[in-house]
Symmetry: C2
Subunit: 416 residues, 2 copies
């Protein structure tokens, strides 16, 4: 393999995740180790930054800032949900990449977002431009196939389990009021995040809250739901329910879809309120609904150290893969076989994760359909271990912002 000299570019895409900036830090740190990489650029706001040639010089950032990325939520480079459809847009993206002699492109994102990376790699190949494209996985939803788990999931799981445990303590304090607590979590089509709430149970205390966990992998029936809630209220006086936003009924339709503009993709959410109505109307108990919302992907102050370290590692691994001549590949996380949890990185084809979703295995869910068995606990427990050391200043966790020194534009403006 011949050494390929030139610049590298990093882009973030899709919704932010708590540790997504740790992958940026890993990429930059590793890129500095390789002499064939001249400049380390970042694209502002994902693919939008490439199209509009909004690039910044990441090597010019202070070391302090790069270190601080490891505990900064959001997406330091800015993100973007736009999906390029127009072939001219891809041509333009490659034109910008060529103009800046980018030879390595690292794309941090979920399954949807990686479609851009695949198409860019294909276009470069078709135009015989030597570009190595490596994807870095990121999603709190944990639904990427081909990887044991995704950076972002462990921290979201830790936040959810922590919060469910705390809200349950509050609910227990008022348990004699016959209160039903409903906690709605994210997870568009999979139950990984809802299942993570089960981690709030103490060891060998299956009756601990959350008492009922509803995941999209198990078709929802309102009759069974009411029976479930009645059973728990009889046993515990109060009932803590966790529900994933993407819950579907026996016909495969979403149980709750928020009203949205005509033609726009379905905006999930509101399933907690839907369950509230069922309980109020059919049982008459008092209900409190909490939606954990964006904090699930932003609560860096309670991030998993394991997750943050793996996100950094995934960034480093992407650069190493590119140095090894890999192209059109996605970094994966591989779990060791031993009893003691270990994790190393691997690679899969980028195209494998586009449009494919990994669901929570049905055999990890108990027969009752509302609780997880030991297989899930064995899987998820290692991912929330350790507390990220977030520096506090004046009582609050600190974040960094990139200085963002602009790279001079070499091309004219662009309207997509």
């Amino acid at each position: 393999m011949t050494e390929l000299s030139g610049n590298c570019l990093i882009g973030q895409s899709g919704g932010p995740a708590t540790v997504v900036n740790a992958s940026v830090a890993g990429l930059i740190t590793e890129a500095l180790n390789h002499g064939c990489i001249d400049e380390i650029y970042g694209a502002l706001n994902g693919v939008a930054g490439i199209l509009h040639e909004d690039l910044i010089d990441l090597a010019a950032e202070s070391q302090q800032t790069i270190r601080g990325l490891r505990h900064t939520p959001g997406a330091a480079l800015g993100s973007c949900r736009a999906k390029l459809k127009n072939p001219q847009d891809f041509d333009r993206a490659l034109e910008v990449i060529k103009a800046h002699n980018i030879r390595y492109y690292f794309h941090i994102g979920d399954g949807d977002a990686q479609e851009f990376a695949v198409k860019l790699a294909e276009l470069a190949k078709a135009q015989d431009y030597d570009l190595r494209v490596i994807g870095v996985p990121k999603t709190i939803d944990n639904d990427l196939p081909g990887t044991d788990h995704s950076p972002g999931y462990g921290s979201a799981a830790k936040f959810i389990a922590t919060t469910v445990r705390e809200l349950s303590a509050d609910a227990e304090a008022t348990a004699h009021h016959d209160i039903v607590t409903i906690i709605e979590v994210m997870g568009r089509n999979t139950g990984w995040l809802a299942a993570a709430a089960s981690l709030a149970k103490r060891r060998d205390q299956p009756n601990d809250p959350p008492h009922l966990v509803y995941v999209p992998e198990v078709a929802f029936s309102s009759g069974k739901f009411i029976d479930d809630v009645r059973r728990i209220l009889k046993r515990e006086l109060h009932c803590v329910i966790v529900v994933g936003e993407g819950l579907v009924d026996t016909d495969g339709n979403y149980v709750a879809v928020e009203t949205t503009e005509v033609g726009a993709p379905a905006q999930l959410g509101g399933v907690g309120e839907h369950l509230r109505e069922l309980v109020e109307q059919q049982i008459g108990a008092k209900v409190r609904v909490s939606r954990l919302g964006v904090a699930q992907r932003a609560a860096a102050h309670v991030a998993s150290k394991t997750d943050a370290e793996e996100a950094f590692l995934a960034g480093q691994a992407a650069v190493k893969a590119a140095m090894n001549g890999e192209n059109n590949r996605l970094v994966t996380l591989l779990r060791g076989d031993g009893d003691h949890y270990t994790c190393e990185t691997g690679l899969t084809n980028l195209a494998e994760v586009v449009g494919n979703v990994k669901k929570l295995p049905r055999e990890w869910i108990n027969e009752d359909g509302v609780s997880m068995n030991f297989q899930f606990f064995r899987y998820a427990t290692p991912l929330i271990q350790g507390e990220l050391a977030v520096p506090y200043d004046n009582g609050l966790p600190t974040h960094v912002r990139l200085h963002g020194e602009r790279v001079s534009k070499l091309l004219g403006g662009y309207e997509s």
Copy 2:
């Protein structure tokens, strides 16, 4: 003053607060220092436990458990919102207290909850029963008069400021989308909690999020609101708004009241959704609404060390006051005059806090009505300092539960 020998009883009342159990720990710890206190009892579920003679032996709890109360959210003894109205209920409460030779009653609660303590003290006096009643303040709302601040507020403020800072980082990552982020916080009739979100701003960065803070102390006008949002969107591309649930319009009516049963007290909440509609209809920007919900009073994993220590101190001070012969008094927190923050305890009459609410001073709010000035920052910043050392086990913060050894009942059953 003659020494008064007998048992003491602790009750918790009103909604839980993150550090309310630290006051229980302070009470027990101090009570053990005084030989004239024989038994240390707790009433389960507040006044309900007194009426039904559901008492537990707190001295029988392990030291480990009592220490663990300092980082356990909820209300370890159980709480209660019931207000006694029936005179027989008060007679019964005093009957139970006499039967168990209770000579010291410590009541942890907010202003509403302290009404019970006042009436109990008056009844005991009328019946010539030597009982010393001391209240311990507790409310995340921070609306108790007569005290510089209330235990519970600092931790809620720290949680809110932390979360607003994290949600803002997420919002900034997608700022080019022209997104309005609305964060709804608690605070029934005062803006203390909403104002605390301002602490998320970095020092000397007044343009940091949150960009607009709406508090009940400033009458809400939808016209000005839309102008405010337009101004911020022009300057920042995105806009982070924090709003207190108890917002009122120029006529003094709540801006948003959730539908509730006829005759029940108004259930606040939903003001975030109300503002969403205004923005969507009149500006057409995309809006995300987060309601921070019960986590504001339960997020022990991010509790303020200062707050937890003061809650413990308030518990200790209550016992000391009782030992000094005080009765029908509330422990208060007094701030020192120096530049360096100091806090000691004082006492006020219990009746002073019943039905009275301390509002956020108007002169601490800037002329624009949507931001706080240095007087608020000087007041609130010390209250969120320090991180409570919460022990983690298996990736999650640990809580304790009382063993709850029951005290034998001496009276017959009671139906209120």
